[in-house]
Subunit: 338 residues, 2 copies
DNA sequence: CTGAAAGCGCTTACAG
DNA sequence: CTGAAAGCGCTTACAG
């Protein structure tokens, strides 16, 4: 059916070994080179990389395993990873586990069955087990966004604590003392770090912390709305709120719109990772942003190095800085005095 | 290194043929079944689907080739496709061509080298050539979003003309007669259909068309801003504008925010494919939306059928309806009277 | 530089 | 039901 190296060899009057050698950059006689080129062109030959991979044990494919492909953070990561990897000749197989721990394990299994050369993952369950399977098979893994207990692997993180510290300090400096924060699940690494930044900022400025203003959520939109609302409905309502991921920031935007709240007159607000939303929102939001593309590029870089060099080298932990973007004349934050 | 079917066979005291048969759902003696299971579990065997694919000529992989992975339309398509395909046991290889015709061709080549079982593509260049290569190799292709001249393939489209017709009619019924439209490249199928809907609505309502209000763009953000601005700066400025894809809608939002325009007092506006933006924007926008997830699911369904049944059947063209979503009390549209 | 041969890890008729 | 053998399309030492 499809034309193979055998057909090319026959057409060129050479052995498949010679054709293979040429295909892989080896030297052949000029006359043979011409014959091979001619055969390839006229037959429309295309190398079968599946067969090649069986022999070379390289599929030139990297798996990307993420919690949910529906989150913008993930899609931007994928975009950056795919671009970087494809420049290096690698393809990307995308898997999401749809926020399901069992699927996380199964998709990892599938990736390994497919003989991917490496895996970039943003761990969902926090369990080391699915990741360990890859390591056991000698497949390098790069972690994104979160650490996993018991695993020492190449990891790309963001300086979450500092990012939260900046945001909260910004609010404190504007005079706020009752600052609400919408977090994620308590077990989630990023949420923990962002809370740490909140607490550090409060402490630095000598402001007592009201535990009632610290609100966990599932970091999804619905949960974010509930958390935001809970904060708003307190009798001792906060004068400012910091939503600490994209989904809860979006959720806050929805609630604000629905309730007809005026920002910053009714509430000061700093969001997270929602650049395009911040540009569209009126007044322009102040937000903190993660260097998402850079995270993806760095992860791609790390996995390429691992694929090339193996697992011997010590694991690297790369912590990328984020940034605070002030809204137009920071109108989303109002000066506040008791 | 890795454990193979040979190791399992040896451990179970059977031939690899028997192990293979069992792995593929064949019947073996109960005692042998137990022995194989035990061997698999204790050795941690995992089938090598690359090797299997070489023999079966099925890689259980579908390639998705899109113009740019940075466009939200594409990422939502990918999400839907990946989900549907993975339920059927297929993996997804994502390729984008970064709005580059040559890359489109090269990535197609890579997908074919990888022996994907099928390809879902949203054509970029509009050239039949890269797609024809897949067909020639017997790899089924499903087209998304656009037709390609000279190719009769399974295609998933949206009823763009009707969608635009509805939006423009909505504006006309609110009294507008000078209605600007921001389109894409003139050669782009979707842009052509949306323009057709605009023209049909104008004609139906007996409103003369001013060609100066019909503005093409590159359907990107920067180009969208320029187009929107050009429309605004006309001396005979339109009283309403329809932006006809996500990027140009977002661009309009940026400009409106930047210029401090009030919607709908200064301008009535209907956007496209920007649901989350429409929910956040004040006042809530009226928009038309494509059934993006459904497009992805349908495309996945079609490619699965093709992979199973081959290329014999006649090509199917599926046209999905979109929807108009009215903003909160449609405040983004103002009644207008000369 | 070139080619015969072995082998990557599977599956698949075909005997038994 | 089970197993020996051939073969999927390549690459890779190893001779020549």
């Amino acid at each position: 059916m499809a034309v193979t190296i055998k057909d090319v060899a026959r057409a060129a009057g050479l052995s498949i070994a010679t054709v293979s050698k040429y295909m892989n950059g080896g030297h052949v006689l000029e006359s043979n080179r011409a014959a091979i080129e001619l055969a390839i062109a006229s037959l429309g030959y295309r190398v079968n990389v599946v067969a090649r991979g069986l022999k070379t044990r390289r599929t030139m494919t990297v798996g990307v395993l993420i919690p949910s492909i529906e989150q913008i953070f993930s899609t931007e990561i994928i975009a950056a990873v795919e671009k970087k990897l494809s420049e290096a000749g690698f393809s990307t197989i995308v898997c999401d586990c749809q926020l399901d721990a069992e699927l996380e394990s199964r998709k990892m299994e599938i990736l390994l069955e497919k003989q991917v050369d490496g895996i970039i993952t943003m761990p969902f369950s926090g369990s080391a087990e699915p990741i360990q399977k890859a390591i056991d098979q000698g497949v390098p893994v790069v972690l994104i966004d979160r650490k996993v207990e018991g695993l020492s692997l190449d990891t790309v993180l963001v300086d979450n604590e500092n990012l939260a510290y900046q945001a909260v300090s910004r609010l404190i400096e504007a005079g706020h003392r009752r600052i609400g924060i919408v977090l994620g699940p308590e077990t989630l690494y990023t949420s923990q770090r962002r809370l740490a930044g909140y607490l550090a900022a409060m402490q630095t400025h000598g402001i007592p912390v009201d535990p009632g203003l610290i609100h966990p959520s599932d970091y999804q939109i619905a949960g974010g709305q509930a958390a935001f609302l809970a904060l708003l409905e307190r009798s001792d309502r906060p004068t400012a709120i910091f939503t600490t991921n994209y989904e809860t920031t979006f959720a806050a935007g929805l609630m604000i719109n629905e309730k007809g709240l005026a920002i910053p007159q009714d509430l000061s607000w700093i969001g997270f990772d929602s650049l395009s939303m911040a540009q569209i929102f009126k007044p322009r939001l102040t937000i903190v942003v993660q260097p998402i593309r850079q995270i993806g590029e760095t992860a791609a870089q790390l996995i390429l190095e691992r694929v090339a060099n193996g697992l011997e080298l010590a694991a690297r932990e790369i912590i990328l800085p984020g940034a605070m973007i002030e809204g137009l004349s920071t109108r989303s934050i109002r000066k506040y005095a008791d």
